[in-house]
């Protein structure tokens, strides 16, 4: 186990932020700490890094009890949401910083920095200052800087939170590719479920200081442990008090095969190749997601009667 967190409790003043949190992070994996804002994910990450002290509990990194070690001694790389770039230094000096602290020979530093800048595609910006870079470039620099000292573990705190949606998406898949290349155990914090599902091998859902569920993305999606996880990780609607995924609902216009309860269509929203069919079922509002083809075939319109059946995924 690359990281073992056991029974971490942390409060800020009277407010508990982490409650008896225990997680395992496998070596070489890419794990997402996912949850709503204020749920404790960033705090947990900072506890692992040594930037916060827990009230109780232990943190073991690669077999070594790191609970009482300062951040300097834990050899973890940390990437901040707002980059934390050393604004008075060039990109080169930023990336070289950790190596300079460790008093590596100049030639070694030079080649390592070059290698990293090449990895993050920032070679031509080596002599620029962070202020002259875009947000995405700064974050890539921050990553190179953290990787320079070959950390055991790489921690990223909402790394794309400060960037535009488009940039976020691109950097997300780039991070995945980078991880596949570099293979360092990585943990990142996000409140964006799409990001977690797309990038991570393992997701830990943290809300209100408690671990709700941990597992592979498709596991959490298909077998959510509780309604909260289900709601957080994908679209959800309700039929007869039961929570169901809208694309797991099958609609038909004839009742011949006992297709399920009857509902009246209230509104149809066309979202490209999908259509969202909003309905009233036994007085309750619900909706289903169907393909354009299906909607066309069924010739649905507001006021139509449909029969709704829940389909289990094979």
């Amino acid at each position: 186990m690359a990281i073992q967190v056991r029974h971490i409790n942390k409060s800020f003043g009277a407010t508990p932020v982490l409650r008896d949190v225990s997680i395992d992070v496998k070596p070489g994996s890419l794990t997402a700490l996912l949850g709503p804002s204020g749920g404790g994910k960033s705090t947990l990450l900072r506890v692992i890094a040594g930037l916060e002290q827990p009230d109780s509990g232990t943190v073991v990194i690669n077999g070594v009890d790191a609970t009482n070690l300062s951040p300097q001694r834990r050899n973890v790389g940390f990437v901040f949401q707002h980059y934390a770039a050393f604004k008075h230094m060039t990109v080169y000096d930023n990336v070289a910083f950790g190596l300079q602290i460790r008093k590596r020979p100049k030639a070694e530093i030079r080649s390592r920095v070059k290698e990293l800048l090449h990895l993050v595609h920032l070679e031509q910006f080596a002599t620029r200052r962070p202020a002259q870079l875009s947000g995405g470039q700064r974050q890539r620099m921050a990553l190179a800087r953290a990787l320079a000292v070959e950390p055991q573990v790489l921690l990223l705190d909402e790394p794309f939170g400060a960037l535009d949606a488009q940039v976020r998406r691109e950097l997300r898949s780039w991070l995945r590719r980078l991880h596949d290349e570099v293979h360092v155990t990585t943990v990142f914090v996000t409140h964006d479920q799409e990001e977690a599902i797309e990038v991570a091998d393992t997701i830990v859902v943290l809300a209100d200081g408690i671990v709700e569920q941990a597992g592979a993305p498709h596991d959490l999606y298909d077998n959510p442990a509780n309604p909260f996880v289900m709601r957080f990780l994908g679209p959800v609607t309700e039929i007869d008090g039961e929570l169901v995924r809208p694309h797991d609902l099958e609609l038909s216009t004839s009742d011949d095969q006992k297709c399920g309860p009857q509902a009246t269509v209230t509104r149809i929203v066309r979202l490209g190749f999908e259509e969202r069919v909003e309905m009233l079922l036994s007085g309750q509002e619900t909706w289903a997601q169907v393909t354009r083809g299906t909607a066309h075939r069924l010739a649905l319109s507001p006021g139509s009667t449909v029969y709704v059946k829940k389909v289990d995924d094979p």
Binding site: V76, A84, I101, R102, R140
Partner: protein, 258 residues
């Protein structure tokens, strides 16, 4: 505009003109008279010393005010501005009472050059503190945490991360302290005893010359002070200007990554 001219420009211009009345040679002569020259030397040296002391102590005090916490801190913080608010003559009297002949501490430095330095230290106290303090307050703590995560201890972090970001403010405050110090009059009048050649600062010399109707001599030394202040202020302005950055075409993408 007219107002400004009447009040500021013309009078100041008159000083410079008057100092040039006897031509460049006359100007130098007035400046190089033994007591004038001694006063200038004392003023510039003492002010430089005071500026340097302020550089260190001012930064230290700003650090304590921002990073430390103790009961009564806000009162201490407010007190820093006292030299700004207190009339200089009162400051001089106050320092004389404590560090002069009737000192309850038994510490008598009156009528000495040390006295001049102490008086100048008093009036320039707030300058470096108040220019460094806001910068320190706004400093991105993330940078320090990043440095820690990369293995830097507190001293290295201070030296390589914090200090470089404080230097512009430190220099600016020091420059302001210097220009203030060379101009100082009221606080030095009492405690220094104004002994020509020994403890007489230029402002006091100028005053003496005015009182004895040697306005040209006064104007000459005054011009020197003005020029010195101007040099420091222009120097500061040049230093403050951000380095010419490469154009924003830097943001144009290469390799397709944002």
């Amino acid at each position: 505009m007219i107002f400004l001219s009447l009040v500021v420009f013309i009078p100041l211009g008159a000083v410079v003109i008057r100092s040039g009345e006897l031509g460049l040679a006359g100007f130098w002569q007035a400046v190089r008279t033994p007591d004038a020259w001694a006063s200038l030397r004392l003023t510039l040296v003492a002010s430089a010393i005071v500026a340097l002391i302020n550089l260190v102590m001012g930064t230290l005090i700003a650090w304590v005010l921002v990073r430390d916490d103790f009961p009564g801190k806000s009162i201490v913080d407010a007190l820093i501005d006292l030299p700004f608010a207190l009339p200089t003559i009162v400051a001089g009297l106050v320092l004389l009472a404590l560090y002069g002949p009737k000192s309850p501490l038994g510490l008598d430095i009156a009528y000495s050059r040390a006295a001049v330095v102490v008086a100048l230290l008093f009036v320039t106290l707030p300058f470096v503190v108040r220019t460094v303090q806001p910068v320190l307050l706004e400093l991105d703590r993330d940078m320090e945490e990043a440095a820690a995560s990369l293995g830097a201890g507190p001293w290295v972090t201070f030296r390589r991360i914090i200090l470089p970001n404080l230097v512009p403010a430190m220099l600016s405050g020091t420059g302001l302290a210097f220009t203030r110090a060379i101009a100082e009059f009221g606080s030095t009048v009492l405690i220094s005893g104004n002994l020509p050649f020994q403890t007489q600062v230029s402002a006091v010399y100028i005053f003496g010359q005015i009182e004895t109707d040697n306005e040209t001599a006064a104007a000459a030394v005054a011009t020197v002070l003005l020029v010195a202040a101007l040099i420091v202020l222009i120097g500061l302005d040049l230093l403050q200007r951000p380095r010419p950055a490469s154009s924003s075409s830097v943001l144009v993408q290469r390799g397709g990554l944002p």
